[in-house]
């Protein structure tokens, strides 16, 4: 839920904008729409004017038209007044309607553009940004934060403008009509306004508590609904019920209190209007004050008073919206201001050598930002805490050297946290080495553009990731570049033409959420084919560890073998067969390559490799 993610800004990464700067940037976003906005404001004025004129016409009817008609001086006065009323409300309604539509369109378009810009900018950021920010948070930035700005643009700003104009207009007419009474109504209204602001500030922690308590209840229900079998095994149903009841009651008490306080506020608003009317009647008609208000003016004042307090109360509420929207604007612009850690160098080459021979890691060291280590062993949690507290960094790779010759299959093994994933990340240029370099035939890969370099690579990750869209969308990640033949060719190359044939609309079959209309094996094939469409020269593979049924397993194995055939590949290996077939195995521990060689050599050598092998694969010897 969006309010859960209302937490602190990622300090140090996002600087807070000054109020002026924020306003000017918001205004800058609206610049393309300024003609429409101008029209909107003009229409707003006309709609407010109509609203102010209504009671004036009523006064005219009572004070002038009826007496004129009664005296026979002007029999048509009433009908004329009616026609004016008709004209005014028609113009008013038309203005309001058009204005609302114009502003809605401006708001929707501006926000859609902002969403698109944010999204594009996020995609251009380095991987560190994604390590630091979980998917949910990024989604909140692009969706909820911008929606709140939309409220700011479209609803709040205009409605505040409307309120202000309406109030100013109302008081202007009232002052002009009867200054004394108007002044006393103001005296009543001002303390109320201040009181309302104080009250809302005082209520804010309570509103926050309401949301928190609901979130707690929600967490509780999620956890316990998941764990029902556990609760049943231990006969803890009644215990769980008791806990639910307690959390239910917590929420109940908090919310009841908040609701009553909230409505008390609105109750006060309701009574204030009556007090203002009392004031008007007393001052206007009491002998002591001379009386002498006309009936029409009395009605005018009562009508205006009825329109006075609700906007004032709403106004105080809208201040809360504005505050939230500014917090969102801070985050949104913060992201737009964030610069990518991985960018093309000036004059980066866009052509790679076609006949390259080797890729080399030369004394590569790499430190993640201490906050964002993606690959953690259980022990590292503590180490991480230390690092975060000391604001130091952990060396994920510490002087790594190896060569990947064209056509070779190199396997990475070792305990988690050893540095396997980091090597893959650096090779893909998700990150830049802290020191040292990665070269292709002696040229630093940073000499090439990101697009060119990544064009060489194909990535298959251990977990299946599919996009919502068709199979074809998935195969080319929404780029509409590859021909149908090429897409089919990629599937064919995996020996999986039958999978495509089974899909009801072939390549154009829509994948339902997460690809649930495909079997596990079929989903895996789509992911493989996605890498194959690009005909990569270097295949990077993060092997799956999850259990699938034996038939699927062997099918996946076969496809993998077909993929790697005749290609250079770097594999984060979990399967014995992969390791046995590798030309070279790199054993990583704590960011260093501790052993290097072929399977049989390494087994003879002993050390970490042997220990790992014994723990996991000893049964293989029996067979």
């Amino acid at each position: 839920m969006w309010w859960d993610d209302d937490g602190p800004l990622e300090e140090g990464y996002i600087r807070r904008l000054g109020f002026r700067e924020m306003l000017s940037r918001l205004a800058g976003r609206l610049r393309p729409e300024r003609a429409r906005l101008g029209l909107g404001v003009a229409l707003l004025l006309s709609s407010v004017a109509a609203e102010l004129i209504g009671p004036l016409i009523l006064r005219h009817l009572i004070d002038r038209a009826i007496p004129a008609a009664q005296s026979g001086a002007d029999p048509g006065a009433i009908l004329r007044t009616g026609l004016i009323y008709l004209g005014v409300f028609l113009i008013g309604s038309a203005s309001t309607y058009t204005q609302v539509l114009i502003v809605a369109k401006v708001g929707l378009r501006t926000i859609a553009r902002l969403k698109q810009d944010l999204f594009d900018h996020l995609l251009s950021l380095g991987m560190d940004h994604f390590d630091r920010n979980p998917t949910g948070r990024l989604m909140t930035r692009v969706e909820s934060d911008t929606e709140r700005l939309q409220n700011l643009f479209a609803e709040v700003t205009l409605s505040i403008l409307r309120t202000v104009i309406l109030l100013v207009g109302t008081f202007a007419v009232m002052l002009q009509t009867n200054a004394a009474i108007t002044a006393s109504v103001l005296v009543l209204a001002l303390p109320f306004l201040v009181g309302a602001l104080l009250f809302l500030r005082w209520m804010r922690p309570l509103y926050q508590k309401v949301r928190r308590v609901y979130a707690n209840l929600s967490t509780f229900v999620t956890e316990y609904a998941q764990a029902v079998p556990i609760l049943q095994v231990y006969g803890r149903g009644p215990w769980a019920m008791e806990r639910l009841r307690r959390r239910n009651r917590d929420r109940y008490h908090t919310e009841v209190r908040t609701e009553f306080l909230d409505y008390c506020f609105w109750g006060v608003v309701g009574t204030l209007e009556v007090f203002a009317v009392i004031l008007i009647l007393f001052l206007g008609f009491s002998d002591k004050f001379g009386g002498g208000l006309t009936l029409g003016t009395a009605v005018l004042f009562v009508e205006y008073t009825r329109r006075l307090f609700w906007p004032l109360a709403l106004f105080t509420e809208q201040l809360g919206f504005i505050q939230k929207a500014f917090a969102s604007a801070d985050r949104v612009f913060g992201i737009l201001d964030t610069e990518s850690t991985v960018v093309d160098r000036a004059g980066a080459r866009s052509e790679l050598p076609t006949d390259w021979n080797e890729i080399r890691f030369e004394n590569v060291r790499f430190a993640y930002d201490a906050r964002t280590i993606p690959e953690l062993g259980d022990d590292d949690v503590d180490q991480l805490e230390h690092a975060v507290q000391g604001n130091t960094s952990l060396l994920a790779l510490d002087g790594v050297n190896f060569t990947l010759r064209r056509g070779d299959r190199v396997a990475l093994v070792g305990p988690s946290g050893g540095g396997k994933t980091t090597i893959v990340g650096l090779l893909l240029r998700f990150y830049e080495p802290t020191s040292g370099r990665i070269t292709i035939d002696g040229v630093d890969i940073r000499e090439f553009s990101l697009a060119a370099w990544r064009g060489l690579l194909g990535l298959v990750l251990q977990d299946i990731h599919l996009f919502p869209g068709t199979v074809s969308d998935n195969l080319q990640v929404f780029l509409q570049a590859a021909s149908r033949d090429r897409l089919e060719g990629a599937v064919h190359a995996l020996g999986a033409t039958d999978v495509l044939a089974r899909l009801p609309h072939g390549l154009e079959t829509e994948l339902s959420e997460g690809g649930q209309n495909l079997s596990m094996g079929e989903r895996q094939i789509v992911c493989f084919a996605r890498a194959m469409v690009r005909e990569p020269e270097l295949l990077i593979l993060d092997e799956a560890t999850s259990s699938v049924d034996p038939a699927t397993e062997s099918r996946i194995q076969a496809s993998l073998e077909r993929m790697m055939e005749g290609r250079t590949s770097l594999v984060v290996a979990h399967r014995l067969s992969t390791i046995k077939n590798a030309h070279e195995i790199l054993v990583l521990e704590k960011g260093k390559i501790v052993q290097q060689g072929q399977h049989e050599e390494l087994l003879r050598e002993g050390g970490l490799y042997r220990a790992l092998y014994d723990l996991q694969f000893a049964a293989g010897e029996v067979a």
């Binding site: 009817l61 009908l79 929707l108 994604f130 929600s218 803890r236 009392i278 009647l281 029409g296 990640v477």
Partner: protein, 668 residues
């Protein structure tokens, strides 16, 4: 009205009202409070314009009806003014009370909200495996939270929806009534445009519903796209395909702007029609009423009262059709809750006598039912020719014959889908055999004896599910400390409950009082010992609050291995006679696992331990190994024998180990 049988739910309107009333019943006095507030709110609504009518007419009287002054000025005599102000003060009070009406409705909403959630949650707690394979957790949570609480869903509708409609209806009747009483002819003329406008508004609202659905769809489309792109950012970047998702999002957003604009336009139209309806009525009052005033058929005060009533009518008239829209939504939610409540339970021992006539209001749980005294310790378990299928035609277990004896450790191995997890689920009591028998100590286990059997069980699932509670609470789960302690001599010597002789965790007193009232000192001691046994003591020492440390979203993050170890401690807490371990040592290293096994056996020396594992190192520890294939036990024996003689065992073990990470999770 709820029967445990899988009866169909095809409710009539009466059934629905009875459903709603069942949650209302414990709060019946509130009906009168809300009815009273309805009257107050309507009374205030009709009184206000009447006061002004009176004021204006008195002033006009004072001035003299035949005054030919063009401008009617006037004063009110002081005693009259005092009376009017008195009435207005009463109205102010009435308004204040009337404004509390929504709060009172919200109050009852919350009461109903609790009642519905408790009832449905209570029913979920008694469901069997079929239920949980049918409903995903996310779906259950939606039904238990959003469907009940969100505006304008179930709880809101059951009170606010109904009483708001009642309030609107009452205001409408009273205001129109007042107008008719004041002047029937003008009333008819002024109210004439209203039904017409309402018919229009109602039609637009129907279109609005569709537009809003379309809007929701396009929003979730955006969210899907964002989610999949951000979570798949590695793919997007590695493939240098940033332009693809960007273009796709652009398509989605462009369409979304159009859809959202349509929604805004419909809303704006409804708003405009609302005002037009009111203004046309007022126009009639101005022209016709004005003429009547001139002709002396109507007082000025009445004219203004009409003008005000027409303003006030709009809100309730717009609100009333809302009842139809919200009721439809609420009834869908009601059906969704009822689907959970009615989902049949087939495993016999899950059908507790209590659940056949669960009271509609959830009473306090029957105390003492939870912990039946273990009369007869489990000495042996026998599965005789047991067959089980999930109903898809495939036999998950196919004639399984196994005898498990006191003190024995049995490992079950087999490929994915061979039936080993099913076997464990059957022993844990989640399933019951289709055919064959489960015998405890030589006697078949009757459904009624199940509670007794369950009280001797310890179960560690593959996924260690913990709660966002303290570490100690996660282990204890509110269970009393087992008194017949074997190795823990100090715990059973009748020490006073508040003795806190344990080390390093004095800070937890406030938290443990939540979990168990009796014997907290004793259970605390036992909990600490268990935590030591599962090798958590170092970690605990590092946490400031020791075993009182909160886990979870807002508490401490712990690793997968730590979760598994806590889950094991939880299983041992009640000194089980049968301990079931479902592949739960995957993230322990060899040394830790050695010590854990030694400690575990010492804790429950006489217990039967059944474990499912893929790890050679774990399987080797068993006294006996059962090899399963296609629902059958195809081989039994010791590791060395099986490794020599059983082809399936060799194949299974090799395949499983190949699949394992070389070392991925081997460190802790």
């Amino acid at each position: 009205m709820t029967e445990p049988t899988p009866s169909a739910w095809n409710p009539s309107l009466g059934d629905r009202l009875r459903w709603i009333w069942s949650y209302w019943r414990p709060h019946w006095p509130f009906v009168f409070l809300l009815l009273f507030l309805t009257l107050v709110s309507s009374a205030v609504a009709i009184a206000y314009p009447l006061v002004f009518r009176h004021v204006l007419d008195r002033i006009a009287e004072g001035v003299g009806a035949d005054s030919l002054d063009s401008i009617v000025k006037g004063t009110v005599p002081p005693d009259e003014l005092q009376r009017i102000i008195g009435i207005l003060l009463l109205i102010a009070l009435g308004r204040f009370v009337a404004k509390l009406y929504p709060a009172a409705r919200a109050w009852v909403n919350l009461k109903l909200d609790m009642g519905i959630r408790e009832r449905v949650f209570g029913s979920v707690l008694e469901k069997d495996h079929r239920f949980f394979s049918h409903f995903r957790t996310g779906d259950l949570v939606t039904r238990l939270m959003d469907d009940i609480t969100e505006y304008p869903k179930l709880a809101w509708f059951c009170c606010s929806g109904i009483f708001r409609a009642l309030e609107s209806g009452s205001k409408l009747v009273f205001c129109v009534g007042a107008m008719v009483v004041l002047d029937p002819k003008l009333a008819v003329l002024a109210a004439l445009p209203l039904p017409l406008m309402l018919a229009l508004i109602y039609r637009i609202r129907m279109r609005l519903r569709e537009a809003i659905l379309a809007q929701q769809k396009s929003i979730s489309q955006t969210n899907d796209m964002l989610e999949s792109t951000f979570s798949g950012i590695r793919i997007v970047k590695a493939f240098a395909a940033e332009a693809g998702p960007s273009r796709h999002l652009d398509e989605i957003l462009t369409e979304r702007v159009e859809i959202q604009f349509r929604v805004r336009r419909l809303f704006a139209t409804v708003d405009v029609l609302d005002t037009v309806a009111s203004r046309v009525g007022q126009l009639v009052v101005l022209v016709v009423g004005g003429t009547m005033v001139v002709q002396g058929q109507l007082s000025l005060g009445t004219l203004y009262a009409f003008y005000m009533y027409l303003d006030m009518l709009i809100e309730p008239m717009v609100d009333l059709p809302n009842l139809l829209v919200t009721s439809r939504q609420a009834f869908v939610c009601m059906d969704r809750e009822e689907e959970l409540l009615r989902y049949p339970v087939t495993v016999k021992h899950f059908i507790s006598p209590a659940s056949t006539d669960t009271p509609v209001t959830v009473a306090a749980p029957a105390t003492g039912v939870a912990e039946p005294a273990p009369r007869e310790p489990i000495e042996s378990i026998e599965l005789a020719n047991v067959t089980f299928s999930y109903g898809n035609g495939r036999r998950q277990l196919d004639g399984v014959d196994v005898i498990l004896r006191r003190g024995e450790t049995v490992a079950v191995v087999g490929e994915v889908g061979s039936g080993k997890s099913t076997l464990l689920s059957l022993l844990a009591g989640f399933l019951e055999p289709d055919e064959g028998t489960l015998r405890i100590n030589g006697r078949p286990l009757a459904p009624a004896e199940f509670g007794e059997y369950r009280s001797q069980l310890g179960y560690v699932p593959q996924q260690p599910l913990l709660f966002s509670e303290t570490i100690a609470e996660n282990v204890e789960m509110g269970r009393p400390s087992p008194n017949g302690s074997g190795s823990d001599g100090s715990g059973s010597d009748g020490s006073t409950p508040n003795r806190s002789g344990t080390t390093g965790s004095g800070a937890d007193r406030s938290r443990t009082t939540e979990s168990g009232s009796e014997g907290s000192g004793r259970s605390k001691h036992w909990t600490d010992e268990l935590l030591r046994m599962v090798r958590m003591e170092d970690e605990l020492a590092r946490m400031q609050e020791g075993s009182a440390t909160m886990l979870g979203q807002k508490g401490t993050r712990i690793s997968g291995g730590q979760r598994q170890r806590l889950s094991i401690a939880r299983a041992l807490y009640a000194r089980p006679r049968l301990l079931l371990l479902d592949d739960c040592t995957a993230s322990l290293d060899a040394e830790n696992e050695d010590r854990l096994w030694a400690g575990l056996r010492a804790m429950v020396p006489g217990a039967i331990i059944v474990l499912v594992s893929h790890r050679l190192a774990t399987v080797r520890r068993a006294d006996r190994i059962l090899v399963m294939e296609e629902g059958r036990v195809v081989d039994k024996g010791l590791h060395d024998e099986l490794a020599r003689s059983s082809a399936i065992y060799q194949r299974v073990l090799q395949r499983e180990t190949e699949r394992e990470q070389v070392a991925g999770a081997s460190r802790e």
